[in-house]
Symmetry: C2
Subunit: 349 residues, 2 copies
C-alpha cells in the first residue's frame, strides 16, 4: 500500500498502533487522535494559556508547548500527540510578522504585494533556523512522552501559507490570494517555492528533533479551482513529500475533494479527509493507494453520548476498520470535553 | 430534459435565450449573466447606493432596487436581470431583524436559541406579506425592462437562512447552526419548515409580480455533511420546487458537490455550479437531467483580457454549448468592469 519500504519496515516493528496504521499495516483497532486536541477544550490548557500575555509568547515557550502537547495524551488517552504550535510560524520566520487576535484569528500588519516583497523574504534553512523553539519543544515533548505515543510534527501547505501572506488574515473568499495566481503567476510560483524550501528545512528540523510523522495542513485548498490546485499546490506538496523520505506523511487538504486523485499519486502515506467527503467517495478516488484519516463532523461532539456513539460507529463501519480515526476538522474550542471522551472511548472499545 | 411540459412549451415560444436555455431548449449561443451583477462593480450602482444612509434603506426602496436591477442590463448587455435585494429579507419578515455592516456583512442582534424563539416567528403568508416592497420593485423593473430580458427572482435556501438565524452572522464554520441539527433535530425541522413556508409564499408573490425564473441560493450548503444535507436541506428544497410548478427554477448550492445527485432528482430545471466543480463531474453527477449554470472562477476576471478570453472559452467548450454561462460565485465587488465586459463579450461572440 505504501511506497517506501523503509517506512514500512520501521512501522512493522513499531509498538505504536498509530505508526503501524499510518504505514498501512493492519492493526487490532484503528488509532484515534483529534486535530486541535491540544487546545481550549482542555481546562488544563486554558490554565496554562492564561500564564502568557498572548498566544505567540505561549507558542514560543518550548516548555509550555510541550506541556500543551502532552495534556490530551494524559487526559483523553489519544493514540498520538501533535506538537502544539501554529502554521503561521513559517511566514514569520520568513520575515512576515503576524498578530494573533483573540477570538478573531491571525492578522499580518504587512502583506506580500510585489516582487520586492517576495525578494525580501528569507527562505530555506536561513528562515527555518529561527524556528529552533519548535525543535526544542519537540525534544522536550519526546523526552517527556517517554515513547508512550508517537509525536506528530506539522506545517501548513505552501498554498495555505501563501494565501495568508497575500491576504493578511482569514477571509471568506481569499480572493486577493486567488487573484495573484491569475495576475502574477510567475511571482506566485517564486513565492510558493520560497515557502516550500522553508517548509522542507523546517520539517527536516522537526524530524531531527523527534517528530515521528509529519502532517501538512492545506486549510484553504477548497478555495482553488481544480486546475489551479494542480498547478499551484500539488507540485509543492510533491517536493515536500519527496524531500522527506524517512517518515510517514499525511496530507490534509480541506475542501479538496476534487484533488483526491492527484494527492493519492503523491509519495505520502496518509490522506486526511474533511466531513464533506464520504468514505466511499474517498476510497474510490484514492484507489486504495493511501491510508485514510478522518472524518467525523466535529459538530457531532456537541450531541448526547448515544448520538456520538452511533455516528462514530457508523463512520468506523464505513471506513471498514482500516483507517486512522479523527474528526473532519480541528475540534471546535467550545466542544464539551465529555463529548470528546465518548468519541475516543467508542473507538477504543 | 425537464419535468414540466408547461414550462417547456412556454419556453419554446419565448423570445428569450435565457428562458429557452433554462428549459433545456437548444439555443444559438449560451445565455450569460453574473451573480451579483447588480452591485459595486458598476459606478452607477455606487452612485445610486450613496444616496441612501444604509443598505437596508436602499433595498426597501422599490424604485432604487429596480434601477440597480436594470443597470447591468444597460451597461453589460447580460441576458437576464436579477432583482436587487438580499436573502436576509426573509428572516427579517419572520421577525428577526438584521443589520448590514459595511465591508463586514450581516449581523443579527438577536438569534434563535430555543423553542420559544422559533414559536415567536411569523411564517408563510403572514411573513411574506411584509415583503411587498420586493414585489413592488419587481413590478417596476418588469415594466421598465419592457421585455428586453427576463427577470430572475430569488430567495435563500432554507438551510442557509436557518444558518444565519442561529449563527447571527457569517461564520468560518457555522458550528452553532450545525450544532443545532445534532442537538435539537426536531426544533431544527420546525424552524426549517417555517422558513420554507415563508419562502414559498414569498416566491409565489415574486412570480405574481413578474419574476420569470426563480433561483434558490444555498450559500452554506458546503458546510453540511452529506447525510445532513439530505435530511435538513433537500426535503425543503423539494417542497419549494413542488409548490411553484409554473416557472423554471435554479438551485445553486455552493460547495455541495456531494449532493449533486440529490439535487438532480428535484423538480427544478437548472443547477448552479461553483468553481470547484468541473463540468465533467457535474454532467456525470446530474446524469444530463438538468441544465447547468456556471462556473468560471470569479478571480479570473482580475486577469488580462487574453487570459479571461482563454479561460472563458475553455469553460464554454467543457460544457459543450448547452448551458447558462455565469461565474461560480457572485462577482467580487472590486472586479474591474473591463474584465466583466470581456467575459460577457466572449460568450456573445
Amino acid at each position: 500500500m505504501i511506497e517506501s519500504s523503509g517506512i514500512l519496515s520501521a512501522a512493522n516493528e513499531s509498538k505504536h498502533l498509530f505508526l503501524r496504521a499510518a504505514a498501512g499495516v493492519a492493526t487490532e483497532r484503528p488509532p484515534v487522535w483529534l486535530m486541535r486536541q491540544a487546545g481550549r477544550i482542555l481546562p488544563q490548557y486554558r490554565a496554562l494559556r492564561s500564564r502568557f500575555p498572548d498566544f505567540k509568547a505561549f507558542v514560543k515557550t518550548p516548555e509550555a508547548s510541550a506541556e500543551a502537547t502532552i495534556q490530551p495524551v494524559d487526559e483523553l488517552g489519544v493514540d498520538a500527540a501533535i506538537i502544539f504550535s501554529d502554521i503561521l510560524v513559517v511566514p514569520e520566520a520568513m520575515g512576515l510578522d503576524y498578530e494573533m487576535i483573540e477570538a478573531k484569528g491571525p492578522r499580518f500588519p504587512k502583506v506580500i504585494e510585489n516582487q520586492g516583497d517576495v525578494s525580501a523574504l528569507l527562505s530555506g534553512e536561513a528562515a527555518a533556523i529561527q524556528l529552533s523553539y519548535v525543535y526544542e519543544a519537540l525534544k522536550i515533548t519526546k523526552r517527556e512522552l517517554a515513547d508512550r505515543v508517537p509525536l506528530i510534527g506539522f506545517a501548513g501547505a505552501p498554498w495555505t501559507i501563501f494565501a495568508y501572506m497575500i491576504e493578511g488574515s482569514g477571509s471568506k473568499t481569499f480572493s486577493k490570494a486567488r487573484r495573484m495566481l491569475y495576475v502574477e503567476p510567475h511571482l506566485s510560483h517564486t513565492l510558493l517555492q520560497k515557502i516550500t524550501d522553508t517548509t522542507i528545512a523546517y520539517l527536516r528540523g522537526q524530524v531531527q528533533a523527534g517528530a515521528d510523522l509529519l502532517q501538512l495542513f492545506d486549510s484553504w485548498a477548497g478555495e482553488l479551482p481544480p486546475a489551479h490546485y494542480r498547478a499551484f499546490a500539488v507540485p509543492y506538496l510533491r517536493q515536500i513529500c519527496e524531500a522527506l523520505p524517512d517518515v510517514p506523511k499525511t496530507i490534509f487538504a480541506k475542501g479538496a475533494w476534487f484533488a483526491l486523485e492527484d494527492i493519492a499519486d503523491l509519495p505520502c502515506q496518509v490522506i486526511g479527509l474533511d466531513w464533506n467527503i464520504t468514505p466511499e467517495f474517498a476510497k474510490q478516488a484514492t484507489g486504495g493507494k493511501k491510508v485514510l484519516q478522518g472524518n467525523l463532523d466535529p459538530c457531532t461532539l456537541y450531541a448526547d453520548a448515544a448520538t456520538i456513539k452511533k455516528e462514530t460507529k457508523k463512520m468506523l463501519n464505513a471506513f471498514g476498520g482500516h483507517h486512522i480515526v479523527n474528526l473532519g476538522h480541528g475540534v471546535y474550542p467550545d466542544t464539551p470535553l465529555d463529548g470528546v471522551r465518548v468519541f475516543v472511548e467508542t473507538v477504543k472499545e
